[in-house]
Symmetry: C2
Subunit: 300 residues, 2 copies
């Protein structure tokens, strides 16, 4: 079982297949001509459905336009909703209301398949074959296609209650440590001094920042944890905790350790060297990305 682009199975009026990976910060589109030639890729702003369907469709159209700009052969038509198959992997598509809203705003695609960006990432990583995937970026989720054909999920419960080990969670833990250093419950460390200065350097500025910050703002602080880990035992402890969270997501997906495991996302990539041998020996490179997985949706 692997992902193939069987253009012969698509109606003749569909000249292109398009795979889109859309999240809370950006949208990427890959366009393939039915000859099998990859036309190009384009990038635009966020299309996560939690930020609204109109913005999502606007950025999807922009990313597609940029993907083909100046790259069409003379006998190829300009891509339009009428002559393209579109596979969308969008953050938030697992929410039933947003899913329906997005499809209702379809600007005219006759072949349109929508899934969450995590599902398309899994489909891309193992080319549709059984396997597990842990994604740790701003959030944290694990997915697997089991050998028996079942799909399973771990984590992905969202900020602030779930998504342990994610960028937002690392940032939250770093700020909490800083709060305790500021009010005398903990010794200050290089990490807490850095976070404190970055957030204004006074108790009042820290309080105001915390009052306004959400998932994205906390995630912007995660790189500081990595930057200080070599010389700050508390930062190193936070990374060890995040690596354990990654392992917990992977283990619950596949307790017997039989599935190949791909990892994606900026945080997961940086945690790879810290994984235990039992988990590390399962890790394989992803065979494709979430745009590949979204392209595969076009042919399902």
């Amino acid at each position: 079982m692997s992902v193939v682009w069987n253009f012969n199975a698509l109606p003749a009026h569909l000249h292109y297949a398009i795979g889109v990976d859309g999240g809370g910060t950006s949208t990427r589109a890959r366009v393939v001509h039915r000859s099998g030639v990859v036309v190009g890729e384009g990038k635009a702003g966020a299309s996560g459905l939690m930020q609204g369907t109109p913005q999502a469709w606007r950025h999807i159209a922009q990313a597609i336009t940029l993907a083909v700009q100046g790259r069409l052969q003379v006998d190829w038509p300009v891509p339009t909703p009428a002559n393209c198959a579109l596979g969308l992997g969008l953050a938030g598509a697992n929410n039933a209301d947003w899913y329906a809203e997005c499809l209702a705003a379809n600007p005219g695609y006759t072949r349109l398949v929508l899934a969450s960006d995590a599902v398309t990432a899994l489909l891309g990583a193992h080319q549709g074959a059984p396997g597990a995937l842990v994604i740790m970026g701003t959030g944290a989720i694990g997915l697997a296609l089991q050998a028996n054909g079942r799909h399973t999920t771990t984590g992905g419960w969202g900020f602030p209650c779930g998504d342990e080990g994610s960028g937002a969670d690392l940032g939250l833990q770093a700020v909490n440590l800083t709060q305790r250093a500021v009010d005398g419950r903990h010794a200050s460390t290089p990490l807490t001094r850095d976070v404190y200065e970055t957030l204004g350097g006074t108790p009042e500025s820290l309080l105001a920042w915390c009052g306004a910050a959400r998932q994205f703002e906390y995630a912007t602080l995660a790189p500081k944890v990595f930057a200080h880990a070599a010389h700050d035992a508390e930062a190193a402890r936070l990374l060890a905790r995040a690596a354990q969270s990654l392992e917990a997501l992977a283990t619950a997906l596949d307790p017997a350790h039989t599935l190949p495991l791909a990892v994606a996302g900026s945080i997961a990539q940086r945690l790879l060297p810290q994984l235990s041998p039992a988990i590390a020996q399962r890790v394989v490179p992803a065979q494709g990305d979430a745009m590949d997985g979204a392209l595969a949706l076009c042919f399902q």
Copy 2:
């Protein structure tokens, strides 16, 4: 140094002193006639300033009206802003913008003093004398008046990053444990089964609840942690962690353990039996409540 109601120091046209304790769920007012007679107490809806100044003043007026209704002696005037001194201890008054907004909306009190509800609780607990106070309810904060006259604060950084051990934090930890039980990262326990059923009993309902829940909603689950602690090791572990958080707030306020320590708030009261001897031996009953502290503001 102790709190006294020195009505002789107030202008003769002020017939009453009023102390108000206002938070995110209710407002309580205690009215004292200048003869020294406590007229009565009244209760109304929330007056925490994060919920807006107009609502705060509306509920303050309601609570005062209820406090005196049917309890005035024949030669006493009806209380009005012109003939009362008002001490307000309101949640959110430590925010500079909300503080200014509340005073700007003063309906005519010529003697008006505003402080945060934590400050008035401290003033009430030790009658203005040096001492420490830890409040753990929906949030968690420690305050002290040091022997040298300095005021210090620990915790109180807010949900979700701070306020460890608070009701909202206990609820958050209980839901996180439930998420891990549902997706296979942790064994289910009596607590997680209870939380899961309460929040709808399906992964979808749990995801939807977490997407909408804020500080108050998480705090409503804290009683379940106490209810299961006797027969659920995980619930007991969460309470032990909360008790450690309480101790950390108290210790940072007074590392030498010389100040008397009062505790307030529903969570702190229930954690008292779990405190270590070093902390427990410092605990004294509060001499007065936050309304007493707010009354004291009238005479400062």
